[in-house]
Amino acid sequence: MTTFIGILSTVFTWIGWFIFAYMVIVVLLYFIVFILSFLELKKSKDVIPSLKEEEIFGSIDTKPVSILVPAYNEELGVVPSVKALLSMEYPEFEIIVINDGSKDKTLEKMIEQFQMKRTPQVIRSVIQTKEVKAVYQSTVHSNLYLIDKENGGKADALNTGINLSHYPYVCSIDGDSVLERNAFLKVMKPIIDSDGDVIAVGGSVRIANGCKIERGELVEVGLSRHPVVIMQVIEYLRAFLIGRIGLSRLNILLIVSGAFGVFHKESVLKVGGYRTDTVGEDMELVVRLHRLIKDEGKDQRIVYVPDPVCWTEAPESLKVLRRQRSRWHRGLFETLRIHKGMLFNPKYKNVGMLSMPYFLFVELLGVVVEVVGYALIVLGLLFSFIDPLVSTLLLCMSILLGSLLSMAAVLLEEWSLKKYPKVSDLVKLFFYALFETFWYRPIMTFYRFTGLIQVFKKNHSWGEMTRKGVSS
């Protein structure tokens, strides 16, 4: 018995050391990415916002954009969203709303509000999609189209929109999102500036809960009162302002958010459009675009720009949040699985050698390490394998490091967009960040872990179509 306990204790110690080393490496990685973002934003921190957008707006050199709005049961949000899109400051664009077999009155509301008339358009099916039932065009806004199609999921809806789209750039937007009016002038700038060498641009996504939105336009930024939403605000700040700026700087950005991203249509068509058999279609597409760039030996880039901002509604209930997070994690797993050949493959340069391993070992498997860590703490304390003092101190360290990182993200927000005007908002964000480790982080770890479990449970039906609603 003593020997068994001795062996168990040794195993505990080794796993404990492994987790500790892992934590140190991850924290170091996060701080390296933070420093990259810090340096990037520091350059522009005190620069008076330029007047460049005015010049772009008046230019004949802007590239027209097709805005794709997939909508599934969006009868409440789609009309204000489309109205806001129609008033965007951009010289030439069209809006294509794709009703993905909604069961509510999304279609009827669109037809009624925008006086849409059925047109006999034949869609060139460059990408295979579910059947299109009808195409409508607004009689009041000639640049507004509505596609009514069989339900096939968000990726399928986007592919249908791409097939109908008439312009060289396509932008995917969630049906319930709100864009700032000059968002397109800002998001298209890297494309115009680079003579097309930038083939995809992602903007920032922020949480709209707590903000005042009138007629599809954001009029006042505020923080929600829901703790779950505030935690998501912190998470989004961390993800966008630390993660994406840093990764974009190295041209190894693997995620352009499905809520707001612009893509070069020809490149998207070259890689076959969005994959419909994964729930992480936005990340998967970006990885394929990176693959295309490297395979063709081109000097193209995928970039992130912190300003423009797309405001989106975050889940307020844990049930919905659970679905969302487990889906995201499944999407991450699927993308890494599909593109496993890129992992540590020098052919794909920084994407294969840095970005893919980072997403595998930190973002995907980090969840497993965390779950093991929690189990180890509970079991260790239960069987007295670990010193309560040491575990308490390690917990304190983890809380402080996590909070520091969150505060670093808030600092970057203050340096760049300054969207939260009140001092009380900062205080709220600080205290919520402090308590993240006690409740939010374990919950998120659990949700993401269930995503992984779902992957293995569905092992036999892996090749089947994964159905999901749009903007759910």
């Binding site: 007047l51 004949i60 034949v122």
Partner: protein
């Protein structure tokens, strides 16, 4: 008695806690200052605007007093932006002069700052709001302080606005390194006479700048440059041909319509598209047989514009009806039907 590793851990935690508190305090204090700064800046902006429009009696001294306040440059930028957009016609010329007298030495001083952001702000104000600015100190800054690319570009733009010969020489050597859009921004800052000279010596410019020059002719619809655009319709350089036909399209006239035919027969969809768009403004019967096959293009924009061009001609309508009734290409038929329906024709 605590062991050394625990002491190390404790010290580390204490350091982290202190760092976090300091971080938080820094954020709070900067936010408070920033909010106060914004409020003051907004007040200062209002005062500058009021002085500029003559709503309050202002002298050079008034502006000097305002310049002594913090954030004068940012407030001035906001004020001038507001003023340029909304109340340009109501400004008091004398007050604008006072502002410039006060602002110019400040801007020159800011250019010597060690902070890049301060220098960029100063250059942005000069570039946006000064019609004339002494370029010598800017070149001195460019040559001695090794400024970044954004600063260099701003200096180049300012110099061009001031018709600076050195800037023009620089473009001749460097414009191939700039994007099309940057070159276009530079062209827009040329003075009229310099621009005319540039058109005359068109062949001496680097290709990237030639494209920007042509695009500017199109943007400004400069009919006096039509011969230049027409000469370039037959060049071997695809991008140049595309910019040349864009000029014809925007100007809306050509003396050599037959030279556009090759665009319709090109394998490049951009050339086909521009032909179809040009055919909408320069209506030549000879274009009709060339437009009809474009209805079968795989590019929607080409099909759409070909249909739009055809509908303007009586014989174009006949072609559209023919396509709608006989062609096996569903996309061509669809486009023809769409345009005929827009014309009010009811098709079975």
């Amino acid at each position: 008695m605590m062991t050394t590793p625990i002491m190390i851990l404790l010290s580390f935690i204490a350091a982290l806690a202190i760092l976090l508190v300091l971080f938080f305090l820094y954020l709070l204090i900067t936010k408070l200052f920033d909010n106060r700064k914004r409020k003051k800046q907004s007040e200062l902006t209002n005062r500058i605007v009021q002085a500029l429009v003559g709503q309050v009696k202002a002298t050079e001294e008034t502006f000097r007093d305002m310049a002594a306040e913090k954030n004068f440059l940012s407030a001035t930028t906001d004020a001038l932006r507001e003023f340029n957009r909304n109340i340009e016609v109501k400004t008091d010329g004398a007050n604008t002069l006072y502002l410039k007298n006060v602002l110019t030495p400040i801007l020159l001083q800011e250019l010597k700052s060690s902070k890049e952001s301060v220098r960029i702000n100063a250059l942005q104000v000069i570039e946006r709001f000064y019609e004339q600015f002494e370029t010598a100190p800017l070149w001195e800054h460019a040559n001695t302080n090794n400024p970044g690319s954004e600063e260099k570009l701003l200096i180049l733009k300012i110099a061009l606005q001031n018709d600076d010969a050195h800037a023009i020489e620089l473009i001749k050597g460097e414009s191939d390194r700039y994007s099309f859009y940057t070159n276009k921004q530079l062209v827009r800052r040329f003075r009229t006479e310099t621009l005319k000279r540039a058109y005359k010596s068109f062949d001496e410019w680097p290709l990237a700048f030639q494209l920007a020059l042509l695009s500017y002719i199109a943007e400004e619809r400069q009919i006096d440059q039509l011969p230049l655009a027409e000469r370039l319709l037959t060049t071997d350089q695809v991008e140049m041909k595309i910019q040349a036909i864009k000029c014809i399209k925007e100007i809306g006239y050509t003396t050599v319509p037959e030279q556009l035919h090759s665009f319709a027969q090109s394998s490049d969809w951009r050339e086909q598209l521009l032909f179809a768009q040009t055919a909408q403004v320069i209506r030549q019967e000879s274009f009709i047989p060339l437009l009809k096959p474009l209805l079968e293009s795989s590019n929607w924009q080409v099909r759409y514009n070909a249909g739009q061009a055809l509908i303007a001609f009586e014989s174009g309508l006949v072609s559209l009806r023919e396509v709608a009734a006989t062609t096996s290409d569903a996309y061509a038929r669809d486009m023809a039907v769409q345009w005929l329906e827009r014309k009010g024709e009811k098709l079975a």
